[in-house]
Symmetry: C2
Subunit: 442 residues, 2 copies
C-alpha cells in the first residue's frame, strides 16, 4: 500500500528544519519512502490532496495517564488534590474495565488532536496496552509501582510483580514499549527504585517516574537525606540515558549538571505544573546543557486536555514571560519540543519525530481553513499561537489512516464515550459523594 | 419573535452564580423575559433543544484591535515588535478598506467563539463601526489618538479630529458605543489626554488607553515626572469610572489604591502580556480592592486568537502559578471575568454579562459532545480547562441568532476571508519585504 500526500506545505522537522512550501510525501506501508518539492510524478494506491493544509510529524505526548479520563473537571481547584482526591478515589473505584475504556477514549482524544505517540503511567497498564493495540497508536506504557496497596494490587509494590509479566508480554509489539514506572521519588523505597531499574535494564526498556515535582517531595529529601531527589536518584544509579524524568520543576544547577552527565531525559508538563501552581521548570537551562526535553500534557485530571497544541501556547507564554524575553523560544523551537526533541527523550529519534525518508509514517495534516488560522506568515507561529486541537484534520500512525476529516476512521467516538460512561457509573457516584464530604470538611 | 432554549444547563452568572442543571430561557426580541428550572410550558415562535449543551452569557472581550488580522503570525517572536513592525507597517499599508474587511473577519472569529461584545481601538474606526453594524455584534469602538501622523491622518493627533465626527455619528446606535482612544500614556501629550477626556465626557462615553504596559513607558514617567503612569493620569483627572485602562501590568500598591478611589476599570490581557514577556498584572490585588477587571485578547497581532476561552485557561494557570496557590481563582471566578465582571468594566452590568430577566439576550450555547468535553463534574472547570473556541455551537446577540451549528448565519466565512485576502495584497508584499529587511538588520 503506497500513499502520497501532495500539494501540501511540509514542516519536515529534520535537522535543518526544512520547510517545503509546496511538496509531497510518499509512504509505503509504515515507512516514508520519498518526499520533495513540487509535483509528484509517480504512481500510488492513494493520492491525498493537501491543498491549504500543513503536514507535520505526529506529535508526541511524553507524559500522561490515560486511565484518568473519569477524573476530568473534578476538584480542579482543590489544594493537595493528589492525596485528597486522586489516591482515595483510585483505591475506591478504579478497575480494569474502567482503565480500558478510559484509555480508549483518551487515545481517541490524542489521535483527534494529532498526537501519534504517548508515554503513559498508570494502573492496569495491560488494559492500556490492549486499548493502544486496538486503536493503532504508538505508546510507551508504564505500570505504576507505589508503596501502598492500589486498585490493581492488594499489597504495596504490587506493580513490580505486575511488570514482571506485563513487560515480556508486550515487549515485541511493533508500536508498544512496556516499562516499569515507579510512581515518584518519595513514594518508593530506595530498594524498590533499584529493583524497578534493574527490571528495566533486563528488558532494555525505559524507566519513568515523577521527579522533583512536589514541594513536600523536595522537603522530604532535604530533611531525610540532605539531598535533592536528583542526587538521590543518581546515588541509586537511576540517572541514565533510559530514564525519562517527568516534571523536574525543582532542579537546581547541580542537579542539571548531573542530568547532563548521565544523559537522562525530561518530560516537561507546563500546563499541569502551572495549573497546580507548582512552578515553571528551568527548561531553557536544561536545553542549554543538551538535556533532551519533550512536552507532556500530564493526565486529564491534571492537564485536562491531552493535546500538545495547547501545551505549545502555554510553553511559549510561560517561558518567555519567566525570562522576560519575547524572543526566547521562537515557535519553531517549540514545535520541535512536541516532535523531534520529544522523540529524543524516548531514544526514538531515528524512527519518529520528523518527516524524513526511512522514518515511520506518523503524520498529521492541520487544516488552515478555520477562522483562527488566517493569515499564516509563519506556519510554526500558527501552530503555537493560533491552532487548537480542532484544526487537526487527518492523522496517520505507522502509515495507517486513523483520523480522516476530523473523525476517527475505525471507531465511533459516541460508542467510546458510551462505553466509558457505563464503566464510570460507580466512579461518578463515589466521586460526587466524595466531593460533598470534602466540601463539608473544608 | 419569541424564542425558547430548553432542556439545557444554564450558567446564569447572576449575583449568586446560580446554575440551573436543566431548565429553559425565553427571550422576546432582544430581551430575556423568562427563565427557570424544568420544562417550559408556554408557547414560542422557536424552540431550541439545548440537550447536552451549556448555556452561558455571551463572552466579553474588553480589549482588541480588530483591524489587525493582517498581522497575525507576523514577527511574533521579535523584540520591540510594536515599534519595529507594527507602527511602520501600519503607516505604510493600512487603509480604510483593509480595516473594514479585517474587522468583519475578526468579528466573525469572535462570534464563532462566543464573544458577543468587544472593545476595540484602532484607526479608521468608522469602518469597524460599519462592520459591527452589519455583523450584528455589540461593541465599544475607540478611534486611536496618537502623537504622529498615521494611516488615517496626515498629522499628529488626527484621531482627535476624527473622534469629533465619529462619536456623534454612532452615538445612538443600539449596539455600538463610540469613544476616544488615546493610544497610550506615553504616546500622547498631557494636553491631548485632557482634550480626549473632555470629549468623552461631553458625549458621556468611555475612554480607553494602554496604561502601565511597557517597561520603557514606566521608565519614561519615572525619569520625566518621578511618577507612575497611573499617578500621571490621576493628575490629569483621567482616572474616573468611565476609564477602561488596558493592561495595567505595572501598577504598584499606591496606584491600585488610586484606581480603587477613582473607580476606574481594567482590561486584563493575560495572553498578550505574557507572550510579549511583559509580566503578569496584579489582578488578585486589584480585585481585592473592588477594581472591576475584565479579560481581553488584545489584537490578533499580539494575542493571535480573539476568543475568551483561551484567556480563561491562560488566566487560571498564570495567576495560580504566580501566587503558588492552586485554589486561587476557582474556575467560576474566571468565567465571571469573561462575562459579568467584564460587563462591570463597561458599566453595562445591568444590560449584559448574565442571564437574567430583563437583560439583553446575548447568549452562547457550548456543546459538550466533542472529545475534550467529557466528563463534566463542574461546568465552569470544563469551560476554563477543557473547552476551546471550536466547542461554541450557537450564539445570539440582542436576541438574533448569528451563529448556528458552528457556522455564521448571515455571512459566509469563505467570502469574508476572500474579501480580506484581496484587501491584503499590498500589505502582504510589504510585510514580507519588511520581514526580510528586519532579518537582515539583526
Amino acid at each position: 500500500m503506497k500513499t502520497c500526500i501532495y500539494n501540501v506545505m511540509i514542516l519536515t522537522m529534520n535537522a535543518k528544519q526544512d520547510v517545503i512550501e509546496n511538496g509531497y510525501v510518499v509512504f509505503e506501508d509504515e515507512k516514508i519512502v520519498e518526499l520533495g518539492e513540487g509535483s509528484y510524478t509517480g504512481v500510488c494506491d492513494e493520492m491525498i490532496d493537501g491543498a491549504g493544509d500543513i503536514l507535520m510529524p505526529g506529535m508526541i505526548n511524553t507524559h500522561t495517564h490515560t486511565g484518568m479520563i473519569p477524573f476530568r473537571s473534578l476538584g480542579d481547584d482543590c489544594k493537595d488534590r493528589l492525596r485528597r482526591y486522586l489516591f482515595p478515589l483510585e483505591s475506591a473505584c478504579m478497575n480494569d474495565s474502567l482503565v480500558y475504556h478510559s484509555a480508549k477514549y483518551a487515545i481517541a482524544e490524542m489521535l483527534l488532536a494529532g498526537v501519534t505517540t504517548f508515554v503513559d503511567m498508570y494502573y492496569f497498564e495491560d488494559e492500556v496496552a490492549k486499548a493502544t493495540d486496538e486503536m493503532g497508536a504508538r505508546a510507551f506504557l508504564g505500570e505504576t509501582i507505589i508503596d501502598f496497596a492500589t486498585c490493581d494490587s492488594d499489597c504495596a509494590y504490587g506493580g513490580y510483580e505486575y511488570c514482571k509479566w506485563f513487560i515480556p508480554k508486550w515487549l515485541n509489539h511493533p508500536r508498544i514499549t512496556p516499562f516499569p514506572a515507579p510512581h515518584a521519588t518519595n513514594t518508593n523505597s530506595a530498594e524498590m527504585l533499584q529493583k524497578a531499574n534493574e527490571l528495566a535494564q533486563k528488558y532494555e526498556v525505559p524507566i519513568s517516574l515523577h521527579v522533583a515535582e512536589m514541594d513536600y517531595e523536595m522537603q522530604h529529601f532535604k530533611d531525610t537525606y540532605g539531598k535533592t531527589p536528583i542526587q538521590f536518584l543518581d546515588d541509586l544509579q537511576l540517572l541514565h540515558p533510559h530514564l525519562l524524568a517527568a516534571h523536574c520543576i525543582h532542579v537546581n544547577e547541580e542537579d542539571r549538571i548531573l542530568m547532563q552527565k548521565r544523559k537522562c531525559s525530561v518530560a516537561h508538563c507546563i500546563g499541569s505544573n502551572t495549573k497546580a501552581a507548582k512552578g515553571v521548570a528551568p527548561v531553557k537551562e536544561m536545553l542549554a546543557l543538551g538535556i533532551p526535553v519533550g512536552l507532556g500534557t500530564d493526565g486529564p485530571a491534571s492537564g485536562n486536555t491531552l493535546d500538545i497544541l495547547t501545551q505549545f501556547k502555554l510553553f511559549a507564554n510561560f517561558h518567555k514571560c519567566e525570562h522576560r524575553d519575547r524572543s526566547l523560544f521562537p515557535s519553531k523551537e517549540i514545535v520541535a519540543l512536541g516532535t523531534i526533541q520529544a522523540a529524543k527523550t524516548l531514544r526514538l529519534e531515528k524512527e519518529i519525530g520528523s518527516i524524513e525518508v526511512g522514518k515511520k509514517a506518523d503524520l498529521v495534516l492541520i487544516e488552515t481553513h478555520s477562522v483562527n488560522m488566517f493569515p499564516i506568515y509563519d506556519p510554526y507561529a500558527a501552530l503555537v499561537y493560533s491552532a487548537n486541537a480542532s484544526n487537526v484534520k487527518t492523522v496517520f500512525v505507522d502509515g495507517k489512516c486513523l483520523v480522516k476529516d476530523k473523525q476517527l476512521v475505525n471507531d465511533s467516538l459516541d460508542a467510546l464515550r458510551n462505553n466509558l460512561k457505563e464503566a464510570m457509573q460507580t466512579f461518578i457516584q463515589k466521586a460526587t459523594h466524595f466531593s460533598i464530604e470534602e466540601d463539608g470538611a473544608k
